[in-house]
C-alpha cells in the first residue's frame, strides 16, 4: 500500500473513519487469503471426489466461492474512485453489480446441480467407490473423501466467521453474502459426509439425494441474492447489510430533520448506492432559509453516519407523497 493509501482510504468522495477503515483493510486481507484457500479446497476435493454426486455438488459450490472475493476486490477498487462529471454519484454501484453477478452464477449453477442429481437418481446409477492404496495401506476411498471434506470445511468456516464480522461496519452486501455462504459450508460438508456414509451402508440413492439438497441450497442462495441485488440496483429504499429490514438511518434522518427548529416537516428518500447511501431530504421550511442555513442543516444531518455524505436538502412547499 502506498504512503498516500495508508493515510486515507475513501469510497468515492467519502473518507473512511477508523472503524470502517479497519473493517475494510481486514476484509480485503481476508478476501486475498480466500483465493489460495478456495484454490486448495477445489484441488483437494477434485482429487478425492471420485464418482460421488454429493462430492461433485460440494466441489461446484467450492468453485463458485471464487466469485464473491473477486467481485469484492474488483468492486472495492472501482467504488473507491473519486466522482467526476461522467459519474457524479461515484461508482459505488459497482458493489451492487458485483453482488448481482455472483448471485446469478449461484442461481444458474444451483439449478444445474439439482438437475444433474435428479437425472442421476432417475437413471439409478449406483456410485462405485472402491479402495485406494496409500503408503502401502489399502482402505475404502470413502474415508479419504470424508477426510477431504472435513479438512477443507474447517478453514472455510473460520474465514466465513471472520468475514461476517467485517460485513456490518462496511455495509458491504457482497461481503455479507460471501460470509453467509462460507459460514454455512459445514452443512454442505456434513451432508456430503452423511451421503458417503450411507453409500457405505448400501443406500446408493443417498448420494444423489444429498447432492440435490446441496444444489437446492446453492439455488436458494442464488434466488435470495438475485432478488436483493436487483431490488437494490432498482433503487429500493436502503436496507440493512443483510437485507433483512429497512435501514434505521431512514427514520433517524427524517426525525433529525423534523426536529430542526427551522423545519416544519420533513421526508426522506434514501437509496443504497453500494457502500454509501444517496439521500434526498425534502423539507417544508418554517421560515426563510438562506443557503448558508441550509448548508448548516445538511452538515448536521450528514454527520449522523459515514454513509450519508451524498445528501441533498430540497426545500418544498408541500412534501411529496413517498
Amino acid at each position: 500500500m502506498s504512503a498516500q493509501e495508508t493515510q486515507q482510504v475513501a469510497f468515492g468522495a467519502t473518507r473512511l473513519a477508523d472503524e470502517q477503515l479497519d473493517a475494510f483493510r481486514k476484509a480485503r486481507r481476508l478476501q486475498w487469503i480466500s483465493l489460495p484457500v478456495v484454490a486448495a479446497t477445489v484441488v483437494i476435493i477434485m482429487l478425492v471426489m471420485g464418482s460421488s454426486q454429493a462430492m461433485k455438488a460440494a466441489w461446484i459450490e467450492d468453485l463458485l466461492s471464487f466469485l464473491p472475493p473477486i467481485a469484492f476486490l474488483i468492486a472495492g477498487r472501482v467504488a473507491r474512485r473519486e466522482p467526476d462529471h461522467e459519474h457524479p454519484w461515484g461508482l459505488h454501484r459497482a458493489v451492487g453489480i458485483g453482488h448481482l453477478a455472483s448471485a446469478l452464477a449461484l442461481l444458474v449453477l444451483g439449478a444445474f446441480v439439482v438437475y444433474d442429481a435428479v437425472m442421476t437418481l432417475i437413471s439409478r446409477e449406483h456410485p462405485t467407490i472402491g479402495t485406494i492404496q496409500l503408503f502401502g495401506y489399502t482402505f475404502w476411498q470413502g474415508w479419504l473423501m470424508m477426510a477431504g471434506l472435513i479438512v477443507t470445511a474447517i478453514p472455510t468456516m473460520i474465514l466465513g466467521h471472520m468475514k461476517m464480522k467485517a460485513a456490518e461496519p462496511l455495509h458491504d452486501k457482497i461481503l455479507y453474502a460471501d460470509a453467509d455462504m462460507m459460514r454455512a459450508d459445514w452443512t454442505t460438508a456434513g451432508g456430503a459426509v452423511i451421503g458417503l456414509a450411507l453409500i457405505g451402508f448400501g443406500l446408493w440413492w443417498a448420494d444423489s439425494v444429498v447432492a440435490a439438497f446441496i444444489g437446492a441450497s446453492i439455488l436458494k442462495d442464488g434466488v435470495v441474492n438475485v432478488r436483493n441485488a436487483t431490488r437494490g440496483l432498482a433503487d429500493r429504499t436502503a436496507r440493512t447489510f443483510d437485507d433483512k429490514e429497512e435501514h434505521p438511518l431512514v427514520r433517524r434522518v427524517e426525525e433529525a430533520a423534523s426536529a430542526e427548529p427551522a423545519v416544519a416537516s420533513a421526508m426522506v428518500r434514501m437509496r443504497d448506492l453500494g457502500h454509501l447511501f444517496h439521500t434526498e431530504v425534502f423539507i417544508v421550511p418554517a421560515l426563510e432559509l438562506s443557503p448558508a442555513a441550509l448548508e448548516e442543516i445538511r452538515k448536521r444531518l450528514t454527520s449522523l453516519d459515514w454513509k450519508l455524505e451524498d445528501m441533498s436538502i430540497v426545500p418544498v412547499t408541500e412534501l411529496p407523497d413517498c
Partner: protein
Amino acid sequence: MLPDRVLTTTFTLARRPLLTALLVGGLTACEYPRDPDGTLERVLTDKKLRVGVSPSEPWVEVGKVDHPVGRASEHQIGGVEPRLVSGFAKHLGVEPVWEVDGEAGLVEKIELGMLDLAIGGFTADSQWTSKMGVTRAYTKARDGHGKKKGHVIGAPLGENAFISELERYLDSRPAAEKGGEQ
C-alpha cells in the same frame, strides 16, 4: 451456535485418537462398505463367480491357449486377467464360471446382473464406465498409440464390497502376474 458445537466435537475426536479409531474400526469390522445388490454375499453363498471374457491379447486369450485356466463350451481361456480372476475365485473359495462375449455384450450382462465380473483388456478411460463399475488400475501398459493406460476389471456399478475385495486381492499379487509395466 451449531457450527461451534460441530467444531468442538471434531476437535474432541481429534484429541482422542483411540475413540476415533474405535469408531472407525467398529464400522470397518461390521462389513463396510456394503453391496447394494449383495454381489459378494451371493458369490460366496452360491460358490460361483460368473466371469464374462472378451478376447484381447495378452490380457484375455480365447481359443487354443498355451496355459489355459478354464474353458467356456469348446473354447480354452487363458491370459493375464483370467489367471488373476481364477486366483481371486480360489481366494474366495468359489468356482469360476466362464462365458465368452463381445465388450458390448459383456457390459449389458453386467448391467442386467447376469455376470459378476467382466474382463477384456478394459482400460481406465474406457467408455463403459457409466454402465459398468471398474476396479482401480491393477497395472499400466502402452496402447497402440504409445500412450500409457491403466488396465481395469469390470464389475456391477456400485457393488463396493465386492469391488473392494477384488482390489485388495489384486494389490496382494506380485507385479509379474499382472503384466504390463508397473
